[in-house]
């Protein structure tokens, strides 16, 4: 299973997560959310890697459970049951007067309203687990590697920062032990005695790393004509302005067609600008992961699922 997981593009996992969340969000019965929850857990358990970012399943499961529980408890507390339906729990109805009107809670809870609460909760839980699938299965480093060339510097900084985090914990532990060796100081607080060396250590390390990366050619750019550069920048600016106009139109509800046009053109301009800026990079990449046939197979399955969902087979 692991070798298969390695061949799946991290972007595909995000597509899987997104689609499952979408389907879960639009479902109106209990079966679809439960099926999605089960599917997500099975996927995570069989494909996850042994890494820090992949060990969060229990956290997501707990979160999903809490969401369902809160949903049901709130429904019991503030029940506005339809008097016609069968009563599930009969609780005394309480009234509290805050001065501006009576506030009622508890009281009889119908089966129907309990069922509704359960569906709502399950829907949210399914969305949470769908996102969990993406975050635990898509290796963040690999995902960053497939970022477009224009974002390369930012992507590298992020992935270097991910690498630095465990080092920071290690140096924190080291300094804390060293601090114990030295004994209690009256001149600085316990915190300063640990934070100062750790910060100094981190700064030294970052400078060292920056120097080493530069000496290894990081930040090199190929030649690009001023015209190209200017075009890329203008396109980028236009993209931002058009998108802003689009959002404004969307919120003001002025015209649906105009909104759609502004946002679409904005996105196209943005993509073009990105493409142009990426052209001037002279870098090659050893481990870029191309989408393979498995990825396309998964995408087709997802598409079928989406169509089925919106046609209404799943509802």
């Amino acid at each position: 299973m692991r070798s298969l997981a390695n061949r799946i593009h991290p972007g595909t996992w995000w597509l899987v997560g997104g689609t499952l969340a979408l389907v879960a969000g639009s479902s109106s019965n209990l079966i679809a959310p439960i099926a999605i929850c089960l599917l997500a857990v099975i996927l995570i358990l069989s494909f996850r890697e042994n890494a820090t970012w992949a060990r969060s399943l229990s956290f997501y499961l707990a979160l999903a459970g809490i969401v369902i529980l809160i949903r049901v408890i709130f429904r019991i507390l503030f029940s506005y049951s339809n008097p016609d339906s069968a009563i599930a729990i009969l609780l005394p109805r309480l009234q509290i007067n805050f001065g501006f009107g009576a506030f009622e809670f508890l009281g009889s809870v119908s089966w129907q309203s309990m069922y509704g609460a359960l569906i709502d909760g399950a829907r949210l839980a399914a969305i949470i687990l769908a996102v969990a699938t993406a975050t635990t299965l898509a290796n963040p480093r690999k995902l960053l590697k497939s970022a477009p060339g224009a974002l390369y510097e930012i992507a590298t900084s992020v992935s270097v920062a991910i690498n630095l985090a465990p080092q920071l914990i290690e140096s924190f532990n080291r300094v804390r032990r060293a601090r114990q060796l030295r004994g209690k100081s009256k001149r600085t607080s316990r915190l300063a005695g640990i934070v100062i060396p750790v910060l100094e250590d981190t700064l030294d390390r970052s400078l060292l790393l920056a120097a080493s990366m530069d000496a290894r050619g990081f930040g090199r750019r190929g030649m690009q004509s001023p015209v190209q550069l200017l075009t890329a920048r203008l396109l980028g600016l236009c993209a931002i302005v058009l998108t802003l106009i689009g959002i404004f139109l969307l919120l003001s509800g002025f015209s649906a067609y105009l909104t759609l046009a502004a946002i679409t053109i904005g996105i196209i301009f943005g993509a073009l600008s990105m493409r142009l800026t990426s052209l001037r990079l002279i870098r090659t990449n050893l481990t870029t992961q191309a989408r393979s046939s498995i990825d396309y197979a998964i995408m087709i399955l997802l598409l079928v699922l989406l169509i089925a969902n919106f046609v209404g087979w799943l509802r």
């Binding site: 480093r141 690498n163 004994g183 080493s212 290894r216 090199r220 090659t284 050893l286």
Partner: protein, 503 residues
């Protein structure tokens, strides 16, 4: 290939520049050794050659830097990265990737090398550095020596014309170091690579290099042939020092050469192993576990008052674990950990002294006096982070000794120190022993152990491999011979200090 003309570099804080009117000219295909005392500016010279100084260090520059006859005085390092490769002192701090393979590809990716050629070059570098079994491993799982090999392989695979290496073999055992330097030497011969290497352990490469640059404390740099340069140089290994003492001309640059030069008979003082009583430390069944990993496996350890015990063994054999275990088991111990500077957090030397006196509850100036005994007087307002690594070590040692502990533990006390600084640390440790303290230290450095220890405990995978008096442990018959034992091959003779020269 590389030329510095009237090159002066100043970090800006001091009145004396770090590099003072340096004129060097290095030919293509030369293998160059850079040597100098601790804090003399070896690393600064290398950074200046790469262009990291001043761009990543701050400071001011005068003079010119040429690379293949082009003036690159103001070029940023990434602009010359195609031609110069650089590996700094702490490879573990300069890794950018997660796995070995990704790390090796990084420079090649930056330089835009096509993937098929990239794979070929990486393959070559992997074979040269013996990393074949490690290619898919995570960098954080590797030992210090393996990390150093990865950093060098990354520089080799990039295939630049000039390679600048700062202490490339500090974490390698002698055999691995020799193989690596031999490989670089061959690249210089066959492919006209220009290699510039800073190294404390001169003996590891002195017989391979074409040129030697000596960096003095005043920032001047002298360039010349190995034998003539080293005849005047003070921070030298026992092999060279023997030649200097005997006035050999030219100097012997390898053990084999020295063997032919020595005259017999040799007179020397025997090292008497002191069976001092009473026992200060007496511990049995020491074990340390980290998860599944057994760092220390049920060992017994004892030491007497006034005794100095060296703990030796390869990386991961349990040296550091044993020291920390001792520190936790024994009351009233002073410990200096591997990164001694972690213990320093105040803003000036005098504040550190005062704090140490208060914490230890001793008379004022006790710490300062101890510190001065080791390294002499230093301005009290200087920042502890600005001290050289030798001075920082001395400061931490003084702080820890102010508590007047009966047992002193040191973890790798000579990392990054030159031969004369090592001598000072050795003297300080011997002084402690004469005052009746027990000193236990971990070290890789056989020459330092020969100067310091009474007894050597050798660990292997958490168990005691051998426990012998120093003269036996470091003899020419054992696995850890000093240079002197290898040259003379006489039982009981391990250090130059034992030699009695006929006037």
């Amino acid at each position: 290939m590389i030329q510095l003309k009237n090159f002066t570099f100043n970090y800006g804080k001091t009145e004396t520049p770090a590099l003072n009117r340096v004129n060097i000219n290095i030919q293509a295909g030369d293998f160059v050794l850079v040597c100098g005392g601790t804090g003399s500016g070896k690393s600064t010279l290398l950074k200046a050659i790469v262009g990291l100084a001043p761009h990543f260090t701050g400071g001011t520059v005068a003079g010119q830097r040429f690379l293949a006859d082009n003036d690159v005085t103001n070029a940023m390092p990434h602009e010359t990265a195609e031609q110069i490769g650089y590996v700094n002192q702490q490879p573990e701090g300069s890794f950018v990737a997660e796995t070995v393979m990704e790390e090796l590809a990084f420079t090649l990716e930056q330089l835009g090398v096509p993937v098929p050629e990239m794979l070929q070059r990486i393959e070559k570098a992997i074979i040269a550095t013996g990393l074949n079994d490690l290619r898919d491993r995570r960098l954080t799982e590797l030992s210090g020596g393996q990390q150093q090999r990865v950093a060098i392989a990354a520089a080799l695979s990039a295939g630049q014309k000039v390679l600048v290496l700062d202490e490339p073999t500090s974490a390698l055992d002698p055999e691995a170091a020799h193989e690596l330097l031999e490989f670089i030497h061959n690249l210089c011969r066959r492919e006209q690579l220009t290699a510039i290497v800073a190294e404390h352990r001169i003996e590891r490469l002195i017989d391979l290099v074409d040129q030697v640059l000596v960096v003095s404390n005043d920032g001047t740099v002298a360039q010349g042939k190995p034998a003539e340069q080293l005849a005047r140089f003070t921070f030298v290994p026992p092999l060279i020092k023997l030649g200097q003492m005997q006035g050999w001309d030219p100097l012997a640059l390898s053990i084999a050469e020295a063997r032919e030069m020595i005259s017999t008979p040799v007179h020397f003082r025997k090292i008497v192993y002191p069976h001092v009583q009473p026992q200060n430390i007496q511990l049995t069944k020491l074990s340390v576990k980290y998860g599944d990993l057994i760092a220390l496996d049920d060992i017994d350890f004892g030491a007497a008052s006034g005794e100095v015990v060296a703990i030796m063994g390869e990386n991961g054999s349990g040296k550091t674990s044993l020291l920390w275990k001792l520190r936790n088991e024994i009351a009233n111990t002073a410990m200096v950990p591997q990164q001694a500077a972690d213990l320093l957090f105040l803003n000036s030397l005098s504040q550190e002294f005062a704090d140490s006196d208060e914490v230890a509850g001793v008379a004022q100036n006790r710490t300062a006096t101890l510190f001065e005994e080791f390294v002499g007087r230093i301005d009290g307002s200087s920042h502890p982070r600005d001290l050289s690594s030798g001075q920082q070590l001395a400061l931490v040692l003084a702080i820890q000794l102010a508590k007047n502990s009966q047992t002193v533990l040191l973890d790798e006390p000579t990392r990054g120190l030159d031969y004369s600084a090592k001598q000072q640390v050795a003297e300080a440790i011997r002084q402690l022993a004469t005052k009746g303290k027990t000193v236990v230290f971990a070290s890789h450095d056989v020459e330092f152990v020969a100067l310091t220890a009474d007894r050597v405990v050798q660990l292997h995978k958490g168990k005691v491999l051998s426990d012998l008096p120093v003269s036996q442990a470091l003899s020419h018959k054992g696995k850890l011979p000093t240079q002197v034992s290898q040259i003379f091959e006489i039982d009981g003779l391990i250090a130059l200090e034992q030699l009695v020269l006929d006037a």
